[in-house]
Amino acid sequence: MKITVKLFATFRQGRFKIAEQDVPEGTTIADVLDTLAIEVADVGMLFVNGRHAEPEQRLAGGVVLAIFPLVGGG
């Protein structure tokens, strides 16, 4: 199945801003992080279609997964 992955801030370095990826059915967010060599501990926010998500969540085809390091502002 196809998903769209968006990376932000430092996660873009040496990777990409946005990419479509072909992943097996049943793939979790943690699996995607693994293939990107991003440690779960370094992740600040995960959004699937604009909703907060956890690493163990399974992804459905067509979703947009956004991955942020811990950042903030105000």
């Binding site: 968006k6 932000f8 801030a9 873009r12 959004f47 942020f68 811990l70 903030g72």
Partner: protein, 576 residues
């Protein structure tokens, strides 16, 4: 810090008084709000002789404590009609604290048309007629002070907007680079202008190191506190690198980035105006990604942003400003946004109220969407010269919306709503509705827990737990605002217990007291209650603790949600 400096503009006299015992344990916001509540009649006209303007360094300002050199300005706001406290960086807080002043209280109002400069020194102040810097922008005014008084003087001043008593006018403070930091919100520049003060300059000569009851304990506490600032990923790395503008992409993903005058929660050109793009531009053009607004800041969320030729354009280039112009007003070019930010600083207008007002003016058809050049013209011509059109715009978001008969006017208590849509982020909606300040995200930054996963997680799309979240944050914020510490210490404070522990230890070591965490929370509650009582007496009753109706009528994409919090539940905010 054992003196209060009173500057009376009615009879042009100055008095130095001892600090009353009741005020000894107060600083920053706790002190400004206490003095305003005690001495300003809540029903007075904000621009009349009975209003006062109070400047107060925080309880830790002037010491070696990291991030503690911010200060508060309090008054009755001409924008909201309620009590106001703003926080600003710059160099003045430390100087005022080291001269021994716990507060500077400006009162009264002169008859006649003469403008004045107030020169503060260790023995008091002199009030002298001012002609040379009238009508000058804030950058030129600071330059004038550097040349004619001294580079090390503190400067608190007004741009043309303040001289013309506009409700969007802020008060500008000189920063370490002789650029500008601001007491931004609520039109306090108009209050200073009504008292005919163009600038307050502060002579640092004779300032002394502040006494510490237990120097060794203070040093250890500051080290422990500073370590938490550097260890936490948000304050230690994130803010340094990307500034606050990193939030553009975060809020866009979360569907809470108000776009085109609050008609969508996402913005198609978000990446062009993001913190990531800003960082790339800064590095490519020889600017500085990390920079401090005030002495002793370890977090350094500010930056120096240059144009394509490497020339300075702006600093302190904040998420709020970038959002308001870039997404809410649809200006797609970050360089144009930077230029507008510079003009905001120079003419002395709030960089939230003003651009949110422009987005409303765009919807009204007065300006084409995204037309940054037209905004620059209106700022440089109409607002600077106070033409009738400039005065209409200078009245702020609510004023312009009413002038054009609009219903989508994003204000609470007549103050513009900042960069987070309350429909998909309910916690911040509670803060906007209930804070004594009018719509103000900093009063109880629920974004931390609703969106950023700092201080736990509370689902932003659900009403559950939001009132309690906002209440706890507002209480803690009122306490932090009283210390002189930058509010961004809240990121580590929400996650690392040693952070607040360090703050309490520093307060105890500075003053030789035995405050506990409960005492600090108690101080926060006391501040909110004082402010709330002032607002009730000023006519801002419970019916003003609400969001504008359009949030209940119009749902917002992508989550397609409305504001649907029960008014009774909102009112329970004050049950403490």
């Amino acid at each position: 810090m054992d003196k209060i400096l009173r500057v009376n503009m009615t009879n042009l006299t100055v008095k130095v008084e001892p600090v009353p015992a009741d005020w000894a344990g107060l600083g920053g916001r706790a002190l400004t709000s206490t003095i305003v509540a005690a001495e300003v009649p809540p029903t007075c006209h904000p621009l009349g002789p009975n209003n006062k303007l109070v400047f107060a360094p925080g309880l830790l300002s002037g010491t070696a404590a990291s991030n503690a050199n911010r200060f508060s300005c309090g008054s009755k706001s001409p924008l909201t009609g309620g009590i106001k406290e703003c926080s600003a960086g710059g160099t003045s807080s430390r100087i005022i604290a080291r001269l021994g002043y716990k507060a500077i209280v400006v009162e009264g109002k002169p008859a006649g048309d003469t403008w004045y400069t107030v020169v503060v020194d260790k023995d008091g102040a002199t009030i002298k007629p001012e002609t040379e810097v009238l009508r000058l922008g804030t950058f030129a005014t600071v330059q004038h002070v550097n040349e004619h008084y001294g580079e090390d003087f503190g400067v608190i001043t007004l741009g043309p907007a303040g001289e013309n008593l506009m409700a969007i006018a802020n008060i500008s403070v000189k920063d370490p680079e002789s650029k500008i930091r601001s007491f931004g919100r609520g039109g306090l520049g108009a209050v200073m202008g009504s008292k005919k003060i163009k600038m307050i300059v502060i002579n640092p000569e004779g300032g002394v190191a502040l006494p510490l009851a237990d120097p060794a304990k203070f040093k250890a506490a500051n080290q422990a506190f500073t370590k938490t600032l550097l260890d936490h990923p948000v304050s230690g790395q994130g803010l340094k690198k990307y500034g606050t503008a990193v939030l553009v992409n975060v809020l866009n993903e979360a569907g809470g980035l108000p776009t085109k005058n609050f008609t969508s929660g996402q913005c198609a050109h978000h990446d062009a105006i993001s913190g990531e793009t800003m960082y790339d531009n800064i590095v490519a053009r020889g600017g500085e990604p990390s920079h401090n607004c005030s002495p002793s800041c370890q977090i350094q969320c500010s930056q120096i942003y240059n144009d394509k030729d490497g020339n300075y354009v702006t600093s302190g280039f904040e998420y709020e400003t970038i959002w308001a112009l870039g997404a809410d007003g649809m200006v797609e070019d970050l360089d144009v946004i930077a230029e507008i930010d510079n003009v905001f600083d120079d003419i002395g207008v709030d960089s939230i109220e003003t651009p949110v007002m422009f987005a409303v003016a765009m919807e009204a058809g007065l300006i084409p969407w995204g037309d940054g050049k037209r905004i620059l013209e209106l700022l440089r011509n109409d607002i600077t010269n106070a033409t009738p059109l400039g005065r209409m715009l200078g009245g702020g978001t609510g004023h312009v919306g009413r002038a054009f008969g609009m219903t989508r006017i994003p204000v609470v208590k007549n103050q513009a709503i900042p960069a987070y849509d309350p429909r998909p982020i309910k916690g911040i909606g509670v803060t906007y509705a209930t804070t004594t300040m009018g719509a103000d995200h900093t009063a109880g930054y629920a974004i931390a827990t609703n969106i950023l996963n700092v201080g736990g997680k509370v689902d932003p799309l659900s009403n559950d737990g939001q009132v309690e979240l906002s209440r706890n944050l507002q209480i803690a914020t009122a306490a932090i605002d009283s210390t002189g510490l930058c509010l961004f210490i809240a990121f580590p404070a929400l996650d690392i217990p040693a952070c607040l522990g360090g703050v309490i230890d520093m307060l105890n070591a500075r003053y030789g007291i035995n405050l506990t965490g409960d005492d600090v929370i108690g101080l926060g509650k006391q501040v909110l209650k004082i402010e709330h009582a002032f607002n009730l007496a000023a006519g801002l009753g419970p019916e003003t603790d609400r969001l504008p109706e359009f949030f209940e009528l119009e749902s917002i994409a992508p989550h397609n949600v409305k504001w649907d919090m029960d008014q009774k539940e909102l009112a329970s905010f004050w049950n403490f």
